[in-house]
């Protein structure tokens, strides 16, 4: 057997001296070409599909009518300020509800995974709560609370429809979010709890410092899903005569016999949700890069 020990003469510090071989340069050129080709195919296909869709829609017989009814520039301009005002309410509602939902959802999830006998009643309550509230259509909840609670005429209970519509959203979505959190908590391997307890942490501490932080990262995508859904469902408050973006649009549409406002509102919602989705993607990639660096 002929064995060589290549280049052992310069064992260290050869990083600076290295220049890519011809083969490597060639290989990089090929990789570049392959990347360029797939980029070209991807963008070409996207343009082609969009073009085909555009042609298919605009060449349909009813297109001129639809264009006038849904995509009228004048109506869009006219309704824009009202929708913007209304949309501000949707955004505020969303931001406030989101925070409350995160907290309430996590509390309900924790109640459901609690082991302490003292918390048994809370656990039962949490189960009943999620079962019941996930089962009721959100719109019905908004209607019942939005019209029902002020009608009770109780002293000290707010009579604002907006408030109760918000409460309805919080109650409904917290039930969903609680289940998402619980799935995340269950997905953390039991050995993590064991090693936390081996360090002397109590079970609540293990949950607080070890399990929940890992669970939260895993459930960010489904949570985002629920929040995008919540952003859209803030539109349901228009059902209890709260003057949000959808109510403004409906108002305008009813007076002018034109549905462009709905498209304008839809655009508002899309503009709000897309950046959130991109931000979450970015966050996730950063976590992954940090925690899985160099692992299998």
């Amino acid at each position: 057997m002929t064995d060589t020990s290549p280049g052992s003469a310069t064992a260290a510090g050869s990083a600076a001296a290295w220049t890519p071989s011809l083969r490597e340069l060639e290989r990089r050129a090929v990789r570049r070409r392959l990347r360029r080709r797939s980029l070209l195919v991807a963008s070409g296909l996207v343009v082609l599909v969009l073009l085909a869709l555009g042609v298919a829609i605009t060449s349909s017989p009813g297109w001129p009518n639809v264009k006038e009814l849904f995509f009228s520039w004048e109506h869009a301009k006219a309704v824009f300020p009202d929708v913007l005002d209304g949309f501000w309410l949707n955004v505020r509602l969303f931001l406030i509800c989101e925070v409350v939902i995160l907290v309430l959802g996590l509390l309900v999830a924790l109640a459901r995974v609690a082991r302490s006998p003292w918390l048994a009643p809370v656990r039962v309550l949490a189960v009943v709560y999620t079962d019941l509230l996930r089962g009721i259509p959100t719109l019905l909840l908004v209607l019942m609370l939005g019209f029902g609670m002020p009608a009770l005429g109780l002293q000290g209970v707010p009579i604002s429809g907006t408030f109760w519509a918000g409460v309805a959203l919080v109650l409904s979505y917290s039930a969903y979010v609680a289940e998402v959190f619980r799935a995340g908590i269950d997905s953390v391997h039991p050995s993590q709890v064991a090693s936390a307890q081996a360090l002397g942490l109590s079970r609540p501490q293990a949950l607080r410092f070890v399990v929940v932080p890992q669970a939260v990262r895993r459930v960010v995508p489904p949570l985002l899903n629920d929040f995008v859904s919540l952003q859209k469902d803030t539109a349901l408050v228009s059902a209890v005569a709260v003057f949000d973006a959808v109510f403004a649009a409906r108002d305008y549409a009813a007076y002018n016999f034109n549905y462009t406002p709905y498209v304008v509102v839809a655009a508002f919602f899309v503009v709000l949700t897309v950046p959130l989705a991109r931000f979450t993607d970015w966050l996730q990639r950063r976590w992954l890069a940090r925690e899985r660096a160099g692992q299998l």
Binding site: D3, P6, S14, R31
Partner: protein, 247 residues
């Protein structure tokens, strides 16, 4: 006889960190090549490069006369011929032992279910795992799981087997049962490249031992020579640390 696997001037970096530096390695059919060296010396990375799990930064890898480090080569075609076993078993927990073993033969090699299962059951039986075929991997001990992982890699009938510290995660008393299998495979003429910390095993089974230090193969040779009369100081120091009796 020309080599089955030829590595020339292999270089791999992660950012600024140089992990493999001008690595040359020849593996002929029926060779058992043991990679030794301290953690971080590049053993695992070398194996991952050989299986095209990493893009190399320079140098060439040739398998059976074809340069597989070429970007135009489909890595899946290479992996049909190369089996790999990982330190942490990496069995699929949602599949039974048998399904773990028949996944690639059925989905990649297009074998019929019956043929794939017959072959897998034969191998499982050979390695004393027949009774566990219908169980899920998490029910098995670490040693059993690693044996299943070996069987899974063997089920596709690879020309070359890459073993990445397959006993490093096992209890000492379970190491033996896995190494016995590798020993049997070596005796049967299976071509293998394995990263290992088991020096006694390497000395026993290897046809060639490579000592890696800071991403370079500092010294390679038949085990008798490398373990008893190493040329390099670094090799001597390493061996003195891992086998105090050999010093």
């Amino acid at each position: 006889m020309s080599a089955l696997l030829e590595v020339r001037g292999l270089r791999k970096t992660y950012g600024d960190r140089l992990v493999l530096d001008s690595v040359d390695l020849d593996v002929r059919a029926h060779d058992v090549v043991c990679l030794i060296g301290s953690s971080g010396s590049g053993k695992s990375t070398l194996l991952r490069c050989l299986d095209l799990l990493e893009d190399v930064d320079d140098g060439t890898i040739t398998l059976g006369g074809v340069e597989i480090s070429d970007p135009l080569v489909d890595p899946r075609e290479v992996r049909k011929r190369v089996g790999m076993v990982f330190q942490a078993y990496n069995l699929f927990p949602h599949l039974s032992v048998l399904d773990n073993c028949t996944l690639a033969p059925r989905r990649v090699h297009g074998d019929s279910r019956a043929a794939a299962e017959e072959r897998a059951l034969g191998l499982l039986d050979q390695f004393g795992l027949a009774e566990h075929a219908r169980k899920h991997p998490d029910r098995l001990s670490g040693g059993q799981q690693q044996r299943v992982a070996l069987v899974r890699a063997l089920c596709t009938g690879p020309d070359l087997l890459l073993l990445d510290e397959i006993t490093a995660a096992l209890d000492p008393e379970l190491v033996g049962e896995v190494l016995t299998i590798v020993r049997d495979l070596a005796a049967a003429g299976t071509t293998m490249v394995l990263a290992t910390h088991e020096m006694a095993f390497a000395r026993d089974v290897a046809t060639k031992v490579c000592f890696l230090h800071q991403g370079r193969i500092l010294e390679q040779g038949p085990p008798d020579q490398l373990f008893t009369a190493p040329r390099e100081d670094r090799t001597r120091q390493f061996l003195a640390r891992v086998l105090p009796t050999a010093g």
